[in-house]
């Protein structure tokens, strides 16, 4: 059984490293992107099972990334979970309308995030 692959999109190198290490230990494969443009190209290249997406990104914010994802046939149906330092009160609904499955405010509750990832990716938690 191949491992599920998660694309982590965040311009903060610490967040990429911390989330990457955590997801690897939890049995996922990881790929990374640092801005809006590379998010889309990496998604096309890596065909992830899920994308963890920051909203405030250089080169096109997370909303622009979600719009691109929805317009690209190879990426239709790839679930997105937003992880952002923005207030849910001002950004969660907009993210949901743009296609995000869930919204986590930074700092994230890692246990809740891991269970949301497991339940979003078909087949539940990795073996």
């Amino acid at each position: 059984l191949s491992k599920k692959r998660i694309l982590i999109v965040d311009d903060d190198p610490d967040m990429r490293r911390g989330l990457g290490a955590r997801l690897k230990v939890n049995g996922y494969e990881t790929a990374f992107a640092v801005d809006g443009v590379s998010a889309v190209t990496m998604a096309l290249k890596e065909k992830p099972d899920l994308i963890l997406l920051d909203l405030g990104l250089p080169g096109g914010n997370g909303f622009a990334v979600m719009e691109s994802l929805q317009n690209l046939a190879p990426l239709v149906g790839v679930p997105v979970i937003v992880i952002s330092a923005h207030e849910p009160a001002t950004h969660e609904e907009k993210a949901s309308r743009a296609g995000a499955q869930a919204y986590f405010q930074k700092p994230v509750d890692i246990d809740r995030l891991l269970s949301a990832i497991a339940s979003t990716i078909e087949g539940g938690p990795p073996a």
Binding site: D12, D14, M15, G18, L19, A21, R22, V25, G56, A85, H86, E87, A89, T90, Q105, K106, P107, V108, I110
Partner: protein, 285 residues
């Protein structure tokens, strides 16, 4: 004579018209000034909210990385920790969490737009909210005995579960903060009058109590009871203020009873959800 009267009459009318025009012009001018002021007031509030949102975002970003790495270390992502290292990391985590709470409180208590203190109420069972909060805090209660007592037949309330959790966390956290080692904190819930239409939740501690003055002011913004040396390092004084606003938004009440030296009990009420809504709708049709 008649001719003179006629001139006077015309002059008077001319002055009256002049006066009316002037009044109209000044009124319009005042209206414009008022609208300009109102516009600039709205713009200033908008700028303040934008600024607050920006500050909160920028403070949260580095905190997020710190929080994530501490959790990774504690959960053994980078290998096992000794028990001493784990205990030290717990201290870091507790402080990071406190900082996170303070940023959230600061934003909620100061912003003025529609996003401030929103609630999304629906039928909620408060029992699991209480048991979850108590189990969460039991992990950090150390030598303080933390218990809860909720009857099985407690009715559902019309509330926002996130906000109820926020209120409970705030009250329990406060109670633990002000209770000395070996003390007790208990959380109870009961259905109460008037007309058994409210659920009352209480958080009681055996701490030093709230002063007479404090009982009136403790729910005000930035008030801190007895800011003396024996006060634990204690936040911004916004927690109970936010609790009050949230409880009031739900249509409930919040208050404290206390005897200095013998502890305090904080109470809040939430309205019970109507169970016969479907029937009422039928009657209306």
């Amino acid at each position: 004579m008649a001719y003179e009267h006629s001139i006077l009459f015309h002059e008077a009318r001319h002055h009256a018209e002049l006066l009316e025009t002037r009044v109209r012009e000044r009124t319009a001018e005042l209206q414009r000034t008022y609208e300009d002021l109102e516009k600039s007031r709205r713009e200033q509030l908008e700028m303040k909210d934008q600024f607050l949102g920006h500050v909160s975002h920028e403070l949260r970003a580095p905190l997020a990385a710190a929080h994530l790495f501490v959790r990774n270390l504690l959960d053994g992502v980078s290998g096992p920790l000794t028990s001493e290292q784990a205990a030290d990391m717990d201290v870091v985590l507790k402080n990071v969490d406190q900082l996170r709470g303070m940023i959230g409180d600061l934003l909620e208590a100061t912003r003025s737009d529609s996003a401030a203190l929103q609630i999304a109420p629906h039928e909620v069972d408060v029992t699991p909210l209480i048991t979850d909060a108590v189990s969460f805090f039991q992990l950090r209660a150390d030598t303080i005995e933390l218990t809860h007592d909720v009857p099985r037949d407690l009715p559902g309330v019309y509330a926002d579960p996130q906000r109820v959790r926020q209120i409970l966390n705030n009250l329990i956290d406060n109670a633990l903060k002000f209770t000395p080692p070996g003390g007790r904190v208990s959380v109870r819930a009961r259905q109460v009058e008037p007309e058994r239409a409210f659920v009352r939740v209480e958080v009681a501690d055996t701490g030093r109590g709230v002063s007479q003055e404090g009982k009136q002011l403790v729910f005000e913004r930035m008030y801190q009871d007895r800011p003396t040396d024996d006060r634990p390092r204690g936040g911004l004084g916004l927690g109970l203020f936010i609790c009050r606003l949230l409880v009031e938004r739900h249509g409930g009440q919040i208050w404290v009873e206390s005897e200095p030296g013998r502890g305090s009990t904080f109470f809040f009420t939430l309205p019970v959800m109507r169970t016969n809504t479907a029937g009422a709708q039928h009657r209306d049709e």
